[in-house]
């Protein structure tokens, strides 16, 4: 793989990471204020639909963006009403919002456009076009340019405005959360709302503000998907990105800069998955890694309780068996033969990594203390 190919993969990682990053920061605001949000997916989907629909009918991408943010804010308002004012179950509310978006987007787009749940493809003015930064080399001449020019032109330049907005949102989020009074209060309300209330600050107001910011960011994420990454809305186009953003949020332990890292990593997995159909590894390396993981688990549970030994030992045994199967099947061709890594393995990696982090084997992820709990004012 040459340098330019690597740059192209990283470039597409950045583009694919953008909706994740926006949704992840959205979830960060909401969850830091103590409101769990499973409904990121639904908000992105609703925003993607409405932004594409409005951009297609008016021809203005900015009106589309505005409409997308509006759609996400509406769903945020439902989530806020259910989980803040009516003290309902935040997770159930999020699940309902996901279904509401999945159903309504198709029903409405079928009614408006009659194209089987998609919007008409967006023309020039209806999309966010790539911006060429000053001094960037055009795509035709890029292979002759030097490595630094290539890095600048391929990776940093040529993205749509919203990519830069998303990147800029990371320091902004960090600043708002850690350097402003509002941010301190917002974090406090997710840890100990009673203390915030005692200080005479409105818990309800802060939480609605957080849910509102979450809606705006999800709206931008959805609009990016439909008007920049792709040219129009198709049914279920968020395809689980909201859940990956949630995974990234946990992977990042609810911190803005870590969120950037997690989203870029997960975006990189997407890009690798898109670009390379076959990833080959020598058989000995693959079975060796699996075998070592299995052995590691066995060593870890040696002095643990029976349950640990059954579950983790079973997992270790499973890995060892897979390693043995790979070794056996490659014996005829020699242990140095190359084996294809299944595509689904790369696709499942974000979820597996999140579970590993959640399990606390690699750096424990501790959520905000009052997350998911409605605040009831003392009388």
């Amino acid at each position: 793989m040459d340098f330019l190919t690597l740059l192209q993969v990283l470039d597409s990682s950045l583009r694919l990471a953008t909706p994740l990053l926006l949704a992840c920061l959205a979830g960060l605001f909401s969850e830091r204020a103590g409101i769990f949000d499973i409904g990121l997916e639904g908000k992105m989907l609703a925003a993607a639909f409405l932004s594409a629909a409005i951009a297609a009918t008016t021809g203005s991408v900015w009106l589309g963006l505005l409409a997308g943010v509006g759609a996400a804010l509406l769903l945020s308002a439902i989530h806020g009403l259910a989980s803040i004012t009516l003290r309902g179950d935040q997770i159930i509310s999020g699940v309902a919002i996901n279904f509401l978006a999945a159903g309504l987007t198709v029903v409405i787009s079928q009614d408006w456009f009659g194209q089987g749940g998609r919007t008409p493809p967006l023309l020039a003015g209806g999309r966010f076009e790539p911006l060429d930064l000053p001094g960037a080399v055009p795509a035709k001449e890029i292979s002759e340019a030097g490595p630094f020019r290539q890095l600048y032109s391929e990776l940093l330049s040529g993205h749509s405005l919203l990519v830069y907005v998303a990147l800029l949102m990371v320091p902004v989020t960090w600043f708002v959360l850690y350097k402003t009074r509002f941010g301190l209060r917002l974090r406090a309300v997710g840890e100990n709302p009673a203390a915030v209330d005692t200080a005479g600050i409105s818990v309800v107001g802060l939480r609605y503000a957080a849910v509102g910011i979450c809606g705006v960011l999800c709206g931008i994420a959805g609009a990016y998907m439909a008007t920049a990454l792709q040219a129009g809305f198709v049914k279920d186009m968020s395809a689980g990105r909201g859940f990956i953003a949630l995974a990234a949020l946990i992977f990042a332990k609810w911190r803005p800069w870590y969120a950037l890292g997690a989203c870029l990593l997960f975006g990189f997995f997407f890009a690798v998955d898109n670009r390379f159909q076959n990833i080959l590894l020598p058989a000995w390396a693959m079975s060796g890694v699996l075998f070592a993981l299995g052995l590691g688990l066995f060593a870890y549970v040696r002095h643990k309780t029976l349950l640990d030994r059954i579950v983790l030992g079973g997992l270790g045994l499973g890995l060892a068996i897979v390693a043995a199967l790979i070794t056996l099947s490659s014996l005829s061709a020699g242990l140095g033969s190359m084996i294809k890594i299944p595509v689904v393995f790369i696709q499942s990696l974000p979820y597996v990594l999140t579970v590993v982090v959640l399990a606390g084997f690699v750096g424990k992820a501790i959520p905000p203390r009052s997350g998911g709990v409605a605040y009831v004012k003392e009388k």
Binding site: A82, Q90, I92, I250, L315, L358, P367
Partner: protein, 364 residues
Amino acid sequence: MGVMPKWADVVLVPLISLIIAALLSALLILAIGESPIAALKLMIEGTLLRSSGWGYMLYYTTNFIFTGLAVSVAFHAALFNIGGEGQAMMGGLGVALVCLFIPWPHWTFAIIGASLGAAFFGMIWAGLPAYLQAKRGSHIVITTIMFNFIAAGVLNFFLVGALKPKGSMDPATANFPAATHLPTFEDMAGLLGLEKMFRAAPANVSFFLALVACVLVWFLIWRTPLGYEIRAMGKSEPAARYAGIGSVKIIMVAMMISGALSGMMAINTTQGESERLILNFTEGAGFIGIAVALMGRSHPLGVFLAALLFGFLYQGGAELALWTKIPRELIVVIQALVILFTGALTLMVRGPLERLFLSLRRRR
């Protein structure tokens, strides 16, 4: 404690929530430019007035009973199992392995074997998140969501790889041997001398398996010490722990039962209907289980009734998509509204009702 009589809590609250959801859906149908009354008539004609309509409805109902019971059992232990979808996918893998690789003499044996296979695979897939919750404190909602995606990956891996017959292009297993095929309602009606009933409908004997599961879950939750412990844990974990009930054990057991029930959904779809394992056979039934459990107040009888309702909606929705310009996704909207009003906005329904009953009582 309760302001409302029990019947109001159990019957009125879900009923009013349902009526609100129905009214909002009617508004949506009006907005599309169709008549809600005509739509309802069409749904009833296509579902309740034809025996094959019943056959489709009960097929969907069977799925929803299993997944609804699965979510209910977890709810009783105050756990939210959102992973029914993934557990059902793994259950399908269990059914396929059992049906393909064991030479069954007759379907009666095969259904027992397939039930065990499905339950075992579903159990393992719920057991891992349960273990992580019980021992490592990882939030079970998030882990079960992640496990849904991982299950989809695992299923995909086997269906485009090891389990796909050579030379086939579809991501599916070979057809199951004829001895494992379950009798459908059409076959059973034929045995009773009722020819031409349930023609070509997919409902099959696993519907009765679902009914048995309802009774067993009721017995487990309200008539056994384990059920008592599960409910005690669900009401108050510290109190249960003080009474000597181990939370690790209850989380593990409740989730594994829940996973087994979700997995058993695959008997109906995989062994009963498609007679081979296909991708996406769950069709979101794992998530509908959440709506069914909320609507049925986590009681097997309620789950059964709610599953019938959703079976009706699914079959009726297919009819609507066939004859009008209302797409099938309308049912997803109705499902979302039911979840919203019975699960998240309960105070909106319950608050005014409680005030009503309070004023009635004062007057007396």
